[in-house]
Symmetry: C2
Subunit: 215 residues, 2 copies
């Protein structure tokens, strides 16, 4: 779904603004206000709102108008559970097609992730790049797009993860373990690591949200 529509920039901007909580959380979003803010007319705003609504960033508010889709432990749990099932699945399809070039690319991304002083957003982006570069090899666009959207939606929650202190460190260890298993062509082990990687992160996040929901 990596379209190169003219309004792509606007789409990315608005999505980031939702991630960064720059939009009102509990009140409807006014098209005109966004249009003024971003210096465009309401038409491209409407296009982007429609898209973000479909992707789960926004939701219908009453009879008309949209608002930011609220964060919830339930949604987080659903997102992570779906990922837990679907990502090992796409990995199965990808494994036989993973050549040295792709594995090298994945390693490069991991090294970037090792750098200290990464912002949360940068960390999230690189994390997805790592997974995506492996998954794309599967040549399964339908499955891939679905997973990509789940990942995107999870990015609204990764701020909470960092509350857990050495989460990023553990995460990186698991990334390297995954890559090792892949290099050794151990499909079962690789899938197990990936599943654990996701389910562990999900459990920590959901537990945190259930206690400290910002509502």
């Amino acid at each position: 779904m990596t379209d190169k529509q003219p309004s792509e920039a606007l789409y990315q901007q608005l999505k980031q603004d939702i991630r960064d909580n720059k939009l009102p959380l509990s009140s409807p979003i006014k098209q005109q206000q966004l249009a003024s803010n971003y210096g465009v007319s309401r038409i491209p705003i409407r296009d982007v709102l429609q898209r973000l609504k479909n992707e789960g960033w926004l939701m219908q508010s009453g009879k008309c108008g949209v608002m930011v889709h609220p964060l919830s432990a339930t949604e987080a749990e659903d997102l992570y559970i779906m990922r837990m099932y679907l990502e090992p699945l796409i990995l199965s399809h990808a494994m036989p097609k993973l050549n040295h070039q792709i594995l090298g690319q994945a390693t490069d991304i991991l090294e970037q992730l090792d750098q200290p002083k990464l912002s949360i957003a940068q960390h999230g982006d690189l994390n997805w790049q790592f997974h995506a570069c492996l998954y794309q090899a599967a040549k399964r666009p339908t499955l891939f797009n679905n997973i990509a959207n789940l990942h995107q939606l999870c990015s609204r929650y990764i701020g909470f993860h960092s509350v857990e202190l050495n989460y990023e460190k553990t995460s990186q260890q698991e990334h390297y373990q995954l890559l090792d298993a892949i290099k050794a062509k151990q499909l079962g082990r690789a899938k197990g690591i990936l599943k654990q990687h996701i389910s562990k992160a999900g459990e920590v996040l959901v537990a945190y949200l259930q206690k400290n929901m910002p509502v």
Copy 2:
């Protein structure tokens, strides 16, 4: 995602037209032509196209313009595999909440499905109604919406199913088995039946598509 936007009717119509192959398959879709056909301006058409693109009915065609997302064995396989994992999952969450009222509703739908002389579209609608009425009890909107979209996309393929002669009969038997297991509160058995129900249908469909792709 059951919005009640003004353009809802247009959205349903266009989706049905894609299902019924009333739109050109291999050439881009012209907004103006659709607008004239449906007697509206290009603006609501654009809204609907955007939505259908996000939901996987249409795809980007070149630098601009959209075309009907082609049917493929790979997509069908992805859709059914995802359903195979996600539907038993949501059923787990739904089971404890399934009361007699909902089970009664499900039974009513099954009886409607028993009627002969149903069109393929009617059959597909009722089939989804049956599953949806069970799944909705889970109160898992994120998971539910994802599954709902997968089902919708599968509806483009159900025409091929009917090629298999007594598919509908077998399908109904499995529906009743599922309902029995649910009434007996046998979660494991219910999930197994559901998983089989989906995977069997998927396998038959994919095998058929791999031999007789309409390309």
